[in-house]
Amino acid sequence: MATAIEQLTNGVHFLAPELILVVAVCVMFLTGPFFVTEAGVGAPGLRKRWGALALVAIGCAGFVWWTSDAVRPLDTGPFRADALTWYVRGLTLALGALISIVLVDQIDDGHSAESQACLLAILVGVNLTALANDLIVLFLALELVSIPTYVLLYLPRRGEANQEAAIKYMLLSIFSSAIVLYGMCMLYGAAGTTNLAGIAEVFSAGKSDGAATLVRLSVALLIAGLSFRLGAVPFHFYAPDVFQGIPSAAAAMLSYVPKMVGFAALLRLLPLVDGLGVTEAVSGPSAQMLIAALAIATMTIGNLLALRQDNLYRLMAYSSVAHAGYMMIGLVVQSENSDVSGVGALLFYLATYALITIGVFALFAGVSSDKSPVRTVSDLAGMSRIHPAVALALAVCLFSLTGLPPTVGMLGKLNLFLASWGEGTTLGRSLAIVLAVNAAISAWYYLRLIGVMFFDTAPAGEKSKLTLAPAVAGTLCSVASILLFISPQQLWEAAVKFVP
């Protein structure tokens, strides 16, 4: 039996992309303060350099990711690298680069080093979540996402709304972490080990049948705690308030990263107790019903609340809640009954949703300026006249969120439909029907935004100038959503490779 230190040193080469990012984080945190005055003001243009450095780091990590093929066999080590890890890494690095581009112009020069460093640290946390093969590592990875997030939300310091958002997110996030930790403790208590492979072994051997209640409780706690990150009802209530107060780069990050870590953690944890023979009561039906109920509540409530929002960021927050509900359908579908893998549909949907929603926030950032911020629906009025290209790109993204062709959002929903309807159970069918109803409801508020952009006249007065970098990033997202619609095969294959 190797010692923990030996295990770590053996596992290091599985972590090469993350290590590159961590080095960049250290460099930024350590040298960043030397480039600003004592009052915290940096030379103009400094933010662009830090942004470039972050992009270079992400690029290097991406190169290592692309050339890596290390797949670690499932053992008792703290890390494991499999298809899910590969997928999450690639997705996180690509989307992280987009967020980083948006972030550049959203932060003053004095705080740019810290902001970019926080973003990179968050990306590392996401990757580690997917790499974790141990409850401790999993929890640390989740915290590595959360703690830099608090800082990232707090750094812009744009008045009270921003501070309220940061504090609210921090308090509730800590609360949810505590719930997750509690759940993990119970799992450890039932299984006697923190290693995920070890836990699976114990449960499948049926050694812990006496602890069924404990395991059931722990599953409920884990689902509850991680639902906070997914933004699932009833743990969604922080989302609109937080989104309302933060700049668009942070909002883009918040609509992707927590969902990714939440689903990655659930995909790692649920199979441990799912159908592996703890007892029939814990496995399968009860957890499945719980998630199904959460999914239905999440998408319906998210969509209904989004209908009445006038603040763009609140609207997008509720939209992200609703999309979390769609994705949870993928967790419910039992792959063995369906031709289409539910988890594959989930991962595919997550990638496309993240791409599109980051595109939306990037475009908001692109047309927003300090003089004329774009925060409410009416701020978009007449956008098709002022910035026709941005309006078109935004319309493509919004149609994609609705799920209309020719955008990849349609394929994402189609995969979920095929997975849930093809399962052939009443539960799967009713989920598909609820999904269809919700897709129709959501069309209303996305259409409303398009209507405001294309049919309302622009208010008189000074016209906002375009910020080029985020606008280009957002336009890339919308073009990518059309290209992915035409050739989705690569992404889909990467997504279905992972079989929990």
């Binding site: 149609f399 020719p406 029907i433 259409l447 209507g451 989705p488």
Partner: protein, 551 residues
């Protein structure tokens, strides 16, 4: 030939994209010339396509094929393999989405109709659209591409993709360039049809999933799917369920009473070109969907449930639509309600489920496109001149606008079904087909012919005959319009092809019927001597079987 089809798909799309690209910088007035060029090229290509298709058909013979759906030209390319792709063996079994384009007689006819109406639309908007022109024509051309895509898609999901996609440009057409209530009309149209088509999607997915479970390797391909369902019919009750799900979207699109409420609003608010395309081809997407999905794949459900349900709803639609048209004072709304009635005939024909009826149904799809398109065109023309469409404000225009009046009378006669014009063969075949199935429905539907003549002739009498009555000329834009003139050369160029087509189909419908007949026979063969299923007995038997097992 398939290359020709791709070029045809891409020409309007490309022209639309070009217009969109230069919308900010180009000379606005040049947009319409680009649009006209694009749509004329598309029309020429579609005519060439039809000629090629006729030649191919002559070469291959016109015998009905084995599969209920059999495109003569096909192009297939894998789009997305959904399912396990880890090994080649598993990938071969997985659900495959394909870019599967093809052509059969029905699609060729509908494509030519779409291309023809495209040109008419551009000409009708020539002076009417003065705002954001390049965007307008871009939306128009992109819409045209989308509709052509529906008609040549032979993959179930690809069909749905184009079916849904057409909503987007039409939404913009109505909401930007429409009448005073345009926003409301556009949103209502969009949400109504979107909600319906999502239910249809569930039906399509059931069709695909059932065949995939049964072992069909490419369950999205319509020809293979139809052939498979011919060999392995679904349980009749399941057929009824799938039929109901599929129908929701198609019934809304057609629209059949009582799902028609979005239509009059959308028509009245849409600009003339939007109305022409909406009535001319977009409504046909619904009937075309029935023809591609329900009729060939769910024969028991169509015969047992679909036939009476569609017939009753169509008859109600015919009578109700006609009565509504009769009391309208707004000419455009009258034409919109007449659409509801005319499409009732179309549905009646299709659901006669025999060769005569279905031929009539498809003919009626074309006829309605031509004559209602032309009606909206003329309504647009006098609206441009007088800025009103209310019958009470107008009268005796025949003395002021003799050519336009002549055109209107001609088109109304075509629409009413005067022998010698296009409405006649379509309506007669539809009713004759239905008469063979059930004389009662046919008789009830025939009242629509009388009512149709009544409301259209009343409208003619009010607007074009009697003492001359014109609304006061609007002075604020008087300088632009000048004195009211009769039909211009451009308007004549838009109207004449439609009128010529009406006359041609009326006098010689046979060439058109020859093109579509083999494909219709292939579907109608399914219903030759098929007895209706006794669903109730089947359900009872099932319950008994189940209770027997439990004991």
């Amino acid at each position: 030939m398939i290359q020709l089809l791709f070029i045809l798909l891409l020409v309007p799309l490309g022209a639309g994209g070009l217009l969109l690209l230069f919308s900010g910088v180009s000379q606005q007035r040049s947009a319409r010339w680009i649009a006209l060029g694009g749509s004329l090229v598309a029309l020429a290509l579609s005519l060439q396509l039809a000629a090629d298709y006729r030649a191919l058909q002559a070469e291959q013979g016109v015998s009905a094929s084995d599969s209920p759906i059999a495109p003569r030209v096909e192009y297939r390319r894998t789009w997305e393999i959904i399912g396990d792709t880890s090994t080649p063996g598993a990938a071969a079994d997985a659900i495959k989405l394909e870019f599967h384009f093809g052509l059969d007689g029905i699609s060729v006819v509908m494509i030519v109709l779409t291309a023809l109406l495209g040109v008419v639309c551009v000409l009708s908007s020539w002076d009417a659209i003065t705002e954001r022109e390049s965007e307008f024509y871009a939306a128009l051309l992109i819409l045209q591409s989308g509709v052509i895509g529906v008609f040549c898609a032979f993959d179930a999901v690809l069909f749905y993709v184009f079916f849904e996609f057409t909503l987007i440009p039409l939404f913009f057409l109505i909401a930007i360039w429409g009448g005073p209530q345009r926003r409301y009309a556009a949103v209502k149209f969009f949400l109504y049809t979107l909600a319906g088509s999502l239910v249809t999607l569930l039906g399509i997915i059931t069709l695909i999933g059932y065949a995939a479970k049964g072992g069909l390797t490419s369950p999205c391909s319509l020809p293979e799917l139809a052939a498979w369902y011919q060999a392995h019919p679904m349980d009749p009750w399941l057929q009824v369920g799938v039929f109901a799900a599929l129908s929701v979207g198609f019934l809304i699109k057609v629209p059949v009473f009582p799902f028609h409420t979005w239509l009059p609003l959308a028509h009245v608010e849409a600009p003339t070109a939007g109305s022409i395309l909406l009535a001319g081809v977009l409504l046909k997407l619904g009937t075309y969907g029935f023809l591609r999905f329900c009729l060939p794949m769910l024969p028991d459900a169509c015969l047992t449930v679909g036939l009476p349900a569609a017939a009753i709803l169509s008859v109600i639609g015919i009578v109700y639509g006609s009565l509504c048209a009769l009391i309208q004072r707004d000419v455009k709304k009258l034409v919109a309600y007449s659409s509801v009635a005319h499409l009732g005939f179309c549905m009646l024909g299709l659901f006669a489920l025999n060769v005569e009826g279905m031929t009539g149904g498809v003919l009626q799809m074309v006829n309605h496109g031509l004559s209602t398109g032309a009606l909206f065109l003329i309504v647009g023309m006098f609206y441009e001149r007088y800025h009103t469409r209310m019958m009470d404000d107008l009268g005796g225009l025949a003395s002021r606008l003799p050519l336009m009046a002549a055109g209107m009378v001609f088109i109304c006669m075509a629409s009413v079904g005067l022998p010698g014009l296009n409405g006649f063969p379509g309506e007669m075949l539809s009713l004759a087909g239905m008469f063979k199935r059930n004389p009662l429905y046919a008789a009830a539907g025939a009242t629509g012919l009388v009512l149709g003549a009544w409301y259209l002739l009343t409208m003619l009498q009010f607007v074009f005959f009697g003492p001359l009555k014109e609304p006061a000329v609007h002075h604020h834009d008087h300088d632009r319009h000048g004195p009211i003139r009769d039909i211009s050369f451009r308007e004549l160029a838009a109207l004449l092809p439609l009128a010529a087509a009406c006359l041609w189909i009326g006098v010689r419908p046979q060439p058109l019927i020859d093109v579509i007949r083999p494909d219709i026979e292939a579907v109608a063969k399914l219903y030759d001597g098929r007895p209706p299923v006794d669903l109730k007995a089947l359900a009872v038997a099932k319950v008994q079987q189940r209770s027997g097992q439990e004991q």
